[in-house]
Symmetry: D2
Subunit: 163 residues, 4 copies
Amino acid sequence: MWQVAVCGPGECTPQEAEAARDVGRLLAGRGVVVLCGGYGGVMAAAAAGAREAGGVVVGVLSGRDRAGASSDLTVALPTGLGEARNVLIVRAADAVVVVGGSWGTLSELALARRGGTPVITLGGWRILDAEGRPVPGPVAAAGPAEAVRLALAAAERARPLRP
Amino acid sequence: MWQVAVCGPGECTPQEAEAARDVGRLLAGRGVVVLCGGYGGVMAAAAAGAREAGGVVVGVLSGRDRAGASSDLTVALPTGLGEARNVLIVRAADAVVVVGGSWGTLSELALARRGGTPVITLGGWRILDAEGRPVPGPVAAAGPAEAVRLALAAAERARPLRP
Amino acid sequence: MWQVAVCGPGECTPQEAEAARDVGRLLAGRGVVVLCGGYGGVMAAAAAGAREAGGVVVGVLSGRDRAGASSDLTVALPTGLGEARNVLIVRAADAVVVVGGSWGTLSELALARRGGTPVITLGGWRILDAEGRPVPGPVAAAGPAEAVRLALAAAERARPLRP
Amino acid sequence: MWQVAVCGPGECTPQEAEAARDVGRLLAGRGVVVLCGGYGGVMAAAAAGAREAGGVVVGVLSGRDRAGASSDLTVALPTGLGEARNVLIVRAADAVVVVGGSWGTLSELALARRGGTPVITLGGWRILDAEGRPVPGPVAAAGPAEAVRLALAAAERARPLRP
């Protein structure tokens, strides 16, 4: 089955939390494993949504232990790697949904694109090239349902599931 | 819930595979999440055992993608970190059960002890200090059932589950 | 002594290469250790500049061996970590100079800011928040000499050298 | 030029420190870059020896900053990776000299052998297989001079220097 990461800031707006929760719930409802950073904000909201739908959600933690981890995780993976764990979240994902913006979130978006993993965005920061044009790659969605639809379509292109 | 890693060589004897399968099945039967390296040999046997018991088993892969991963994994995490992923397997575990010996397996045992994670061994390599005495730390079990019992007792001491 | 990373794409314009070479030379001429990703483009140009000035330049490689590494490195560190090595380059730096833009470069910029490391930019991509305003943090320089001056001033604030 | 890692416990005997210092000095005197973990004990002694000989010595630190790093390092690389940095030390080395024993040191020895890097030992722990025979791979040296000679011969076989 597919694995989709939901990335976003550890402190977020209520609107971002609601969007992340919807994304987590919709993904888990489709049987998709949800990956996230395992802490608060967008990460916790995605985990809560996935759990509501009875799905499997994995938190890849930067710390050496479970301190601060969301209680909605099926599996908490303390890595002790600090921010290097951002690489793991997107490496293990068939697609990444980004909700909101922060430096850590931007690093995940950039690492995903660097590695060829599809990225769908719901709001958040924008990236322009030296001429002021949007850098191609990330695909903006209008809402959680569209984000999930686009993420699964991209995952299917990247790694078709066998029947 | 606890998470216990089962570590061992990617090529193993039938006896080691049977032991690893028993360990995986017994752990998952207790509701414990099983962690492993995600490939063949002892790793695949532990994953198969966990799946038989209907449990959750996570494979932390050294490669950038799922190539060569066991099909019994609930979650496959390609890390692209090479052998540095050995650190992650034992860091995320409340206890480690080692089945058999290899250089990679020894690195996991040593990293677990370095970080204070309890280690239970079923056969495998032995470590002597400069005076020829066994280095204290790893605890030898007589069989899979005892290994699981010792691992859960050690995990309980290391991280008591709240009622 | 300080350590400053020079980050930029593995394929770059002649102007970017010239700027990176100037930055490497000016840093090494001040006795600063230069860190980079160790391969081509901006990385190789920074290494060449540092070597011209007789300095120490460390290449933190993504690969498992030295294949493709610049021949101007004082020390080549194959990590086998893939893109997770981007974290190491900026973590070990007192300041980061970014020359040009790419997804890998953006991940380094974002990881540096996430960890509080000062970032000076020479051209490259721009980052806007959801309202279209530049995200504060990175400081744009007009040329290599100003980039080096700003980087060393930022490094001094971040980690004052003892007399 | 070659790069050789010197690995050993952060707390060591005076004899181990003297041996590590000799190894560092002899390596640096041959123009070899010395790699180590960058902290105390065997690591600090190897760094001091390399510095005495006017060589380049790189400390690959587990921490996020330079706290506790030896003052004899040419380059200090804070990785923030915790014990995962052990992988980096041996991955970047053409050969590894092990002085003394500890769990961290054993992990480095095992990771080096897992990756095919030659290992020379000066004292330290011994590894026996299930039948009680020494596991082949590590080569014991009688003293620092022999350790350096064996390490460079092994490095030459692994990665011949171009004339």
